[in-house]
Homo-oligomer: 251 residues x 2
Amino acid sequence: MIDETSSSASTEEESAFLAEYDASQYDRPSTAVDTAIFTIKDDQLHVLLIQREEHPFLKQWSLVGGYINMEVDTDLAATAKRKLLEKTGIATPYLEQVITVGDKQRDPRGWTISTSYFALLPWEKIQLRAGSGAQDVTWHPHSEAAEMSLAFDHNHLLTQCRDRLRSKALYTTLPVNLMEGEFTLNELQQAYEVVIGKPVQAKSFRRRILSSGAIKESGNMRATGKRPAQLYVKDETADTYYFARTMESLA
Amino acid sequence: MIDETSSSASTEEESAFLAEYDASQYDRPSTAVDTAIFTIKDDQLHVLLIQREEHPFLKQWSLVGGYINMEVDTDLAATAKRKLLEKTGIATPYLEQVITVGDKQRDPRGWTISTSYFALLPWEKIQLRAGSGAQDVTWHPHSEAAEMSLAFDHNHLLTQCRDRLRSKALYTTLPVNLMEGEFTLNELQQAYEVVIGKPVQAKSFRRRILSSGAIKESGNMRATGKRPAQLYVKDETADTYYFARTMESLA
DNA sequence: AGAATAGTGTCTATTAGACATTATCGT
DNA sequence: ACGATAATGTCTAATAGACACTATTCT
């Protein structure tokens, strides 16, 4: 059921309207994109933070983000990816939009909007790049970051991103995105446990993961002293798998 | 772990910076909020659409939305609620943020952002208000709306909202928000079936809902011809309940 | 009694939890 | 053989699906 007047995205009348339209004449909130970049390092969930070099919140730590550049960013995710590439050198992370906040209070300069994402990176891949002006960009254990006073409402955004990640780890194969190359099932299980914050049953875990199709045997074994472990790699053709039941996860 | 320089949201230096800051000097995307307002009417999922009175997409149907008014809207949800109140007279619907889209193409005037929400309303409560200028605001069956060519990328936003609603109906008590006052379990089951698009097992459904604590017996019975049915009301003190397992829903 | 709608009994199927047991390595 | 880590066997628990069956009303 197409409306009669619908397909006219370029009538003369509309062209005239657009020609006179001045995009900058109305007051608008400023718009940013902020990403909680997660990785696992030393058996702990870490998040990448940047120390601000400008007001407001000068010197305070913040998520990786910045304003949309309407010249170069084709869409919102492009802004997130651009900042991520600048700071970590990684172009194609797992990236998921979480929540958009916008109000009068979160920035002392007035009404602002920020769309938050979280990214998952395998630690091995990362080579940090000092930002312009030797900006301080460093990994913080999530537990510590959560206790810090971050810039803007980034504590809130970080919590939202963290909760989403933890919750999805209970019923999806998302944490597979934290792995790189070949890995054992026990290593993947550890990644899950770090994300969830609790141990999981090895047997249940293996049953679920292996039936999900998210990973496949690499053919090789890891010989680390005792009984060698089967090595797996991500099945790049597989989407994130959603289980019909959530894991309870142990006390 | 508080950074030494962190709590200084009002140093002299920062005050000076803020005083000189001119919020309008930078180019920014325009920012809107659009809501898919859902209700069930005649055993079909309906969505409220508005016929646009302005360019671009003049005369085409769109979701209920509009620009953020930085003067009156305290936050993003306030914009959604303001528009919803204007069109439906309802102030406190169930409202959930779904996705934020932003790119160069979705509006011919250039880079724009829209944050989408969906709202759930019981049909009985609604009294439509013709908008300013006798604007055309009407309910459309979702199946028809999905076939129409909506303004901007509202087909995409509608799909996202619809998918989120359907998906959550399989493992939460969200559809309870579509009910008003007293209702029978069969009526609630029908609401679920309309949202999901498939029939569900009565026995499983009753087991789940009654164990969720989302509703409680009203004490009254509905006498509609045959065996009378127990009437229930929402338990307003209960949050949306998340089941540990997803319903399969029948073919 | 019969029809219609409300609601239950109960059996099966699936899959997670628990945890004992076996498998395979290095020394 | 022993210790350690990898992996499996298998029993129980929880809950969804299927569907026959009972309950309550009206005519």
